[in-house]
Amino acid sequence: MKEVIEKQIKEFGLPVMTDEKSGALQWLDLRELNLRYIISIENIKPFFEGLKEGKLLTTKCKHCGRIFFPPQRDCPSCRISDMEWVELSREGTLETLTVIFVKPPSFGSYDPYTVAIAKLDDGPRITAWLKGDPRKAKPGMRVRLEISKREKEGYMMYELVPVE
């Protein structure tokens, strides 16, 4: 786009272009926005430390025993913020899946990927990528929750793997 804009300015003295389909004149915005968030994970730090150690941890309210996934600091049932970190069950049942063919540009380096939701044996559901051929996957099948390195970006994340 940047090259197009430069070319148009050189040619017409303005960053303008006629849209091919409609024939309508367009202004090509010069003020590109690069958006990247910086998100606090301070209060769910053990989850990320656990990932590095090969563990999948989440929060459980010390008072009422409610298990939260994704982990959260505060229990809205008790209105008390006193959680313990417990390990998630590593097995569960696949509930649904999709294969993303038209990807967001920020996932452009990956081949089409399978996103699935599984219900873990200790209760919580989890959304993650499902490993393997999606044509062989079926809701109702048993899956294992594993930690692996994201091949393209090199960071640790959890994924679902069919139980053979």
Partner: protein, 395 residues
């Protein structure tokens, strides 16, 4: 205070790829006919609400921009956002403002100019309408993806097929072809919809609503102000529900809890039997951002029992002449889905249908005098169900 709130005028732009206009021009295309048909002047407007999800388009301070462009200054205003239910959320604000007595006449404008950004950017942005960190950041869910997770679950639980979903697209394109404001005014065959151009399995290109520019406007008025209006319909009731951000926090993926909740409230307030609502309605607009969610909506709105929605489309019961005509303006699928405008466009359709002003070939028989609109934001993150009536609600 006004117990009853009327729609006394409507306007609708052509939906589609609108590179021929900028944001305020696109807005004016529906504001002008809305003012004209309501026979009101800008000075009569007490308050205006602007539904716009934004980010993909250049202008952010839209109420101020429209105050300037359309001579609405210095009246009060508010911009509203509820993802794809933004339009109906804007109606909610105007409706409650009039009911409370804070305003007599409110202009509601829904507008979205999504095509000011390039398609990949829009795909990137809409993918974020779930849980940013636990769904998008790490697992790259896209908007079709969120609903595809529901479609898969529905297929497995109730034995529906990709062909069944395709029938929804065929119906909505059939009616879109008769709507001069629709983005796609062309019928499609089942074979065409079934072409394996997968976006998010099991959804293919023709299962998805398009990226659209468009605007729609309505003028809401109190009972007192509306008494001289020649053409008007009434808001009988509204129900609003909210779901969880993460899909993984939900019990089931074949239904939207926020929609069931909103429907139940709307039916109760309007005195409609929740077990047979179609007996009270001449038709409905439901949120078919994809094909499968239209079938889920049949069930969430109790037009069919759980798992029975797929039979309604197979038996063509949601065409004109069937049990209840649904999306006979083309729906989001063929009419287009300019996010902030969609809910307002549904209200415009309710007005046209109830007053028998719809174009030839897509006018329902108006016998019961009521129309339903179901507008979902995100994947059931928000649902608005609104019941419109030709006559004032008998309480």
């Amino acid at each position: 205070m006004s117990e009853n709130v009327a729609i006394i005028g409507v306007g609708h732009s052509k939906f589609g790829d609108r590179r021929d206009v900028n944001v305020p021009e696109l807005a004016w295309e529906s504001i002008k006919p809305a003012l004209d048909s309501a026979n009101v002047d800008q000075k009569d407007i007490d308050f205006f609400v602007l539904g716009n999800a934004g980010i993909w388009s250049s202008e952010a301070a839209l109420p101020a921009l429209m105050a300037e462009y359309a001579d609405l200054s210095p009246k009060g205003s508010m911009r509203v956002e509820a993802a794809c239910a933004t339009g109906n959320a804007a109606i909610r604000v105007g409706y409650t403002a009039i009911k409370s007595g804070e305003a007599d006449v409110v202009l509601i404008l829904g507008i979205e100019k999504m095509r000011e950004s390039q398609n990949p950017t829009v795909i990137e942005l809409i993918g974020r309408f779930g849980s940013f960190f636990w769904e998008f950041e790490n697992f790259g869910l896209t908007f079709p993806g969120y609903y595809a997770l529901h479609a898969t679950a529905y297929m497995v639980k109730y034995g529906a097929s990709e062909e069944d979903f395709a029938r929804v697209a065929v119906k909505n394109h059939y009616y879109g072809a008769k709507n001069p404001y629709a983005q796609f005014q062309k019928e499609v065959t089942l074979e065409k919809v079934m072409e394996p151009k997968y976006v998010a399995w099991p959804f293919k290109l023709f299962d998805c609503s398009p990226i659209t520019d468009g605007s729609a406007a309505i003028i809401l008025a109190s009972e007192e102000f509306a008494k001289d209006a020649e053409n008007k319909i009434w808001i009988h009731s509204q129900g609003v529900g909210t779901g969880t951000a993460n899909l993984s926090k939900r019990e089931d993926f074949t239904s939207l809890e926020s929609a069931r909740y909103a429907a139940e409230i709307a039916y109760k307030k309007a005195g409609i039997d929740v077990d047979a609502p179609y007996k009270y309605l001449d038709g409905a607009n439901v949120h078919d951002c994809f094909t499968a969610p239209e079938i889920m909506a049949y069930e969430d709105l109790r037009f069919a029992k759980k798992g029975g929605g797929v039979k309604l489309i197979r038996d063509e019961q949601t065409y004109i002449g069937g049990l209840i005509p649904v999306n006979i303006d083309g729906g989001l699928k063929a009419k287009g889905h300019p996010i902030g405008a969609t809910g307002v466009s549904q209200a415009v359709e309710a007005y046209k249908q109830l007053l028998s002003q719809a174009e030839p070939g897509r006018q329902a028989d108006i016998e019961k005098g009521r129309w339903l609109a179901h507008n979902v934001g995100g994947t059931g993150h928000y649902t608005y169900v609104t019941i419109y009536g030709l006559e004032k609600l008998k309480r």
